[in-house]
């Protein structure tokens, strides 16, 4: 088993002190260690943004892809080599602005991936502009008179897109974050985790969330109940931010894309010979 320490790298960490990303990094290392994964069997795919630096800080295979494309990249990796544990890390800008077009399709495909969104409600690395989850009216460099657009509700949206595992965690609660990530990694299929990850520099929400979050597990939530999951997903909006549930909203078992492509089960593509016999196929053109 690889230790948490061994999962770190010597790369100087350049996140701001106090950043919520540290907890995500820490929790993920714990989970990888706890699950006994071999480092070379894990691939992390990271988006562009502060969150995306997480790859440099992990002694794991990684691909720092272009902005918004974590999902298709991760999907390609997993389909090519299903032995790999593939985990995507995206930002809220990455995942919900430029990259949101891939999300419903990842949900439909149900490829066995984990997708962690560092939802700090700002574009961190580009100095704090509004993202699709920024609260209405918030002033940022790109919205100095307040954002004029309603934020999206990622949990509700992903539920409605048909995802098989939908969860939320909070950087301020490391233990619970670990639990949620572990359940996500254990889920067979597409596991979506929105992490409330305060951006200490541009939008410090630690206090806000600390006062409001509660754990679904503690509240008797049944994650197999879609309607209840949807009700809880909208709780923050409906209660005007009184109560914000964290934990697993919904989980269901459904065949993955590979389950539905029987000719790809068995030997992984990466292990098949680098030649396809086309003699028979060519016959048909004679």
């Amino acid at each position: 088993m690889v230790s948490v320490a061994e999962l770190g790298t010597a790369k100087k960490n350049t996140w701001c002190p106090g950043c919520g990303n540290f907890a995500v990094l820490q929790a993920f290392k714990s989970v990888v260690s706890r699950l006994g994964l071999e480092p070379w069997e894990v691939v992390v795919v990271t988006g562009i943004g502060c969150h995306g630096k997480i790859g440099d800080y992990l002694a794991l295979n990684s691909f720092h892809t272009i902005h918004g494309r974590v999902l298709p990249l991760a999907t390609g990796i997993k389909l090519a080599n299903p032995r790999l544990t593939v985990v995507g890390f995206a930002g809220d800008g990455d995942a919900y602005a430029i990259g949101i077009g891939h999300l419903p399709h990842a949900a439909r495909r149900n490829v066995d991936l984990t997708y962690v969104v560092h939802d700090n409600k700002v574009f961190g690395l580009t100095t704090g502009q509004a993202t699709p989850t920024t609260p209405l009216g918030m002033r940022t460099r790109s919205t100095p008179f307040g954002t004029p657009e309603e934020p999206i509700n990622p949990i509700a949206a992903v539920l409605a897109m048909g995802a098989t595992f939908v969860a939320r965690a909070f950087s301020g609660d490391l233990r619970h974050l670990e639990e949620v990530l572990e359940r996500a990694l254990r889920h067979r299929g597409f596991a979506f985790v929105d992490v409330l990850q305060p951006c200490y520099t541009f939008y410090d929400t630690y206090g806000y969330y600390r006062e409001r979050v509660y754990k679904l597990e503690d509240d008797g939530h049944d994650p197999s109940d879609w309607n209840e999951a949807m009700r809880r997903a909208r709780e923050e909006e409906v209660t005007g931010g009184e109560r914000i549930p964290i934990g697993v909203f919904y989980q269901v078992d459904r065949p993955t894309l590979l389950d539905r492509l029987p000719h790809l089960s068995g030997v992984p593509l990466v292990d098949r010979p680098p030649r396809v016999d086309v003699a028979g196929l060519l016959e048909r053109f004679r």
Partner: protein, 573 residues
């Protein structure tokens, strides 16, 4: 000159015009003849005008030409519009039930066939009319009906075969009562060796498979969709993954993911989709991921003419995406070359860890060409410096190790003991993001150095040079115009002109030295291109300083013929 017949088959979309031309062509090929057939169709699903121009010859033709020698008209619109173009005495087969108000031209040999009624009588779908018409055409031409029936037997399930064969026979018998005069007949010839009738798209797909492609991700786009359809159809037999993605962006990125994981992976699209892939192309370049993109050109700008042909994306393909990184751009001229180059594309991609673009166009991609059957055993697979299984050092594995060749040994994720980090940001040898100027310079140079290797690897194969060693005139070109140019060159040679043809198979890295050699002492140089601005001519000047003396450009969406070339050069046709 021997036999050279242009058969135009026309009907509405939905009438099976494409299929009819294909069956006819294949019947000719099985008789030892050579066929090239161009399917001309607008962007709609039913109605409109679909035209399939099947050229058949007893010599080696590989381009369409002008003129109509025989017409098969499935409706009155076609009969009325194209009947007059048929050369005097040429056969005009038409569905007499569907041609109300139109008449075959007087000087033609008319073969009215009540094909709609026959189809109805046979209790079959209307589309079987085709078979009656094809049978009639062969009856008129005196060609061997069994060759058509053998093709139908291979293409159709038994019940479908039965009704089509019956109608073909009926048409044949009716027309054979009034066969064309001796000189207008078409007869099988023998001993042409192992040949196939195949489109460029099919050849690209097969070449990719022969080259070991195991993953294809694409979003449908005319005229590249047939690659997706073909691969989707054979995915089980071939044991490959085929994903129709949500967009071209997803396609290029998903293929990149698969390639990073160690599978030969590709995507394919046309202009608009390629535009969307541009960022992903750069990612492959920066991260040094082997990726193959099939770019099947159609006329732009923008949505343009989705179902027509063009060579308008050359400079775009070469310069697409921000920054500077190595890539290769390969342009096959016909399906045979398409097969081998598509396979080779994966070798170049993996050996040099670069994106490779195989650029074709609608004409090559969707027309049927008669070519020697590709030989899969001639395909070699060279995956370059690949590490899998276990990393044994020395030292820590470095994904972007700085080497003289610019190529860093490539471990696959999953290699025990190796951590494989790829990074679209500028990075150090480990793959960690790094921004200092020395690293940036070193990595830029490392990447660009790989182009030297690519050039070396492709040396001797980058150009096709044929014709006169001491020419008065040299035609330069690339891609699917080859057949037309060769035919024009042959005409000129018949007229005693000394002509050379220099065709660029590799467009990037531009084979500058070879081009210098092939174009020194070239006489007058003409560039022949299916675009409006002479992109090859401009590229040639950019990379060698050699200017052309003239251009022959066609940019109305239709393929170039030898007549276009001659006309464009100011020569008699």
């Amino acid at each position: 000159m021997g036999m050279d017949l242009n058969v135009l088959i026309g009907g509405e979309a939905g009438d099976g015009v494409r299929q009819a031309g294909y069956l006819l062509g294949k019947a000719f090929v099985r008789g030892g003849l050579t066929v090239v057939s161009v399917f001309d169709y607008p962007s709609l699903i039913r109605g409109g005008r679909n035209l399939h121009l099947v050229r058949v010859s007893d010599s080696e033709v590989s381009a369409p030409r002008r003129g109509v020698d025989a017409l098969v008209a499935l409706n009155g619109d076609i009969l009325g519009s194209f009947g007059g173009e048929v050369r005097p005495g040429g056969p005009v087969v038409f569905d007499s039930d569907a041609s109300a108000g139109a008449e075959p031209p007087g000087r033609a040999a008319a073969y009215p066939i009540p094909a709609t009624s026959w189809a109805r009588e046979a209790g079959a779908r209307r589309v079987v009319r085709n078979s009656a018409a094809l049978g009639a055409l062969l009856g008129a031409l005196g060609y061997d009906l069994d060759l058509l029936l053998s093709v139908m037997g291979d293409e159709f399930p038994p019940e479908v075969y039965r009704v089509n064969a019956a109608l073909a026979r009926r048409g044949y018998e009716l027309a054979a009562r009034n066969p064309l005069p001796e000189g207008m007949r078409v007869e099988p010839v023998g001993g042409r060796g192992d040949r196939v009738l195949i489109t460029g798209n099919e050849a690209c797909a097969l070449g990719a498979l022969a080259g070991g492609m195991r993953f294809y991700a694409a979003y449908p786009m005319t005229p590249a969709s047939p690659i997706l359809h073909y691969l989707a159809g054979v995915q089980r037999e071939a044991g490959i993954g085929v994903v129709q993605t949500e967009s071209e962006i997803a396609a290029v990125v998903m293929a990149t993911g698969a390639a990073y994981a160690g599978v030969r992976a590709a995507t394919g699209t046309s202009g608009g989709g390629f535009s969307l892939m541009v960022e992903g192309l750069g990612q492959a370049g920066a991260t040094e991921t082997p990726l193959v993109i099939f770019l099947v050109q159609r006329p732009g700008p923008s949505t343009g003419l989705p179902t027509y042909t063009s060579q308008g994306d050359l400079l775009f393909a070469i310069t697409a995406s921000q920054g500077e990184f190595p890539r290769a751009v390969l342009a096959p001229a016909d399906p045979e070359e398409a097969f081998y180059l598509s396979a080779e594309a994966f070798n170049i991609a993996e050996r040099f860890q670069i994106p490779v673009i195989v650029i074709t166009d609608k004409h090559l991609a969707e027309s049927y060409f008669t070519v020697r059957a590709p030989d899969p055993s001639r395909v070699e697979v060279d995956r370059g410096e690949l590490i899998s299984g276990e990393w044994r050092g020395p030292g820590e594995y470095l994904r972007y190790a700085l080497t003289e060749s610019g190529i860093s040994p490539r471990a696959l994720p999953g290699t025990r003991g190796a951590i494989v980090k790829q990074n679209s940001s500028e990075h150090n040898e480990r793959g960690w993001a790094e921004e200092n100027p020395d690293t940036a310079r070193a990595m830029t140079e490392k990447r660009l150095r790989k182009l030297l290797g690519v050039r070396e690897a492709l040396r001797g194969r980058s150009l096709e040079v044929v014709g006169d060693p001491d020419p008065e005139v040299t035609l330069v070109g690339w891609g699917s115009t080859r057949g037309a140019v060769l035919e024009a060159a042959a005409r000129l040679r018949e007229r005693g002109r000394r002509v050379r043809f220099v065709r660029f198979v590799v467009l990037w890295p531009f084979p500058s030295e070879e081009a210098q050699r092939a174009l020194s002492n070239a006489g007058e140089i003409y560039s022949v291109e299916n675009n409006a601005t002479g992109q090859l001519a401009r590229l040639l000047r950019m990379e060698t300083g050699i200017g052309v003396d003239g251009t022959v450009l066609r940019y109305d969406g239709r393929p170039i013929t030898h007549e276009d070339v001659l006309e464009g050069m100011g020569e008699a046709i």
